[in-house]
């Protein structure tokens, strides 16, 4: 049983040094935001879209929660991100 727990523990994310903002964090979030907006625009205009791009971006942003939580300036902007890109997913089919 211990073996399973150890294996799971290995999957934990390593954290970068405290207070040092990873250089790619903000650019990536901007990239995700831009692409998700483009995705939404295409859906609205009836253009064909690849839903896997949206799913992948949301998954990646989800995995960054602990990292984002360390920086109040980024964290404070996440509510808008959720309102724009995430909440509608709860009612999508």
């Amino acid at each position: 049983m211990q073996e399973f727990k150890k294996l799971r523990a290995c999957g934990k994310k390593a954290k970068s040094p405290k207070d040092v903002k990873p250089v790619h964090l903000v650019p990536f979030l901007t990239y995700a935001d831009t692409n998700l907006r483009e995705y939404t625009a295409k859906v609205t205009s009836g253009e064909p879209v690849d839903w896997r791009i949206k799913e992948a971006l949301l998954l990646l942003v989800g995995h960054l929660a602990d990292e984002i939580d360390r920086f109040p300036d980024i964290r404070n902007n996440m509510q808008d991100f959720f309102k724009t890109h995430v909440i509608q997913e709860l009612s999508s089919q």
């Binding site: 049983m1 989800g62 929660a65 939580d69 996440m78 509510q79 959720f82 309102k83 995430v86 709860l90």
Partner: protein
Amino acid sequence: MYGEYSDFEFSDKAHMTAAVEGMYKCLSENTHIPVKLEAAVGLSKMLKNDIAEDILRPGLPQIIENFIQLMDQVDSEELVSAFEVFMSVYADEMGPHAVKIITHLVEQYKRLVSIDIEDDDGEALLAAQGCICAARRLIDACCKNKALLLELRTIMYPILMHGLTPDGLDNIEEVIDMIVMFVFYCSEPGQPIPAEMWRLYSGLLSIIAGGEVDPEGGYAMEYIERAVFAFINFIAKDPTTFTQLVAQEFQLDPANPVTYIQETFKAIDRILVVSN
């Protein structure tokens, strides 16, 4: 994703409310199992937030029903852990649902422990452990209600017995805790503890001390400190039975019947021999 960000305090309460209600709908109305599973796990994470706790309270019976249905369809440790979180957060409101939940957890446990570990990388075994943890948490929450606890004890009894076998050893700590709770809260001083419960006492002694052929004691020897609490409770609550003969149907050697106190001293002797 809301679950991942459940530690964040969103200032817009209307947004939070909409998110929790949306997840609740995914759990209760969506027909796709993966969506329901994600919603169930996500909602449990959202319970860190007081707003979510209040929003979900009226829907608790429906949520419990959804969890039970989902656990029938998916063997997931994460799902059982999520259910455990609900039971912990709404401990005071679980009473009316306790019998239904425990009955389900017992059935789930029996089914999960029968699955071959090679077939699913041990996920079923972890889920089975989760069932026991969830049951213990619920029993703990109901411990003030003696009538209910007596009913739960009857339902849980086969699992308690299984917990004292080599196959159930992974859950021995939870099982001992449950035995302690049942003995302490279900018994009044001076009233005899049922023979079935005393059978757990004998079983626990046996797996701790082992037999003459076990040079290192019983296979649960390392849990002796925890088991002592169970022994103390049995003796304190029902000292009369402790000095009497072990019930005839549970005597190991009916030709030479022993009392519980004799059985206990024999086990102590054995533990001292092994320790030395």
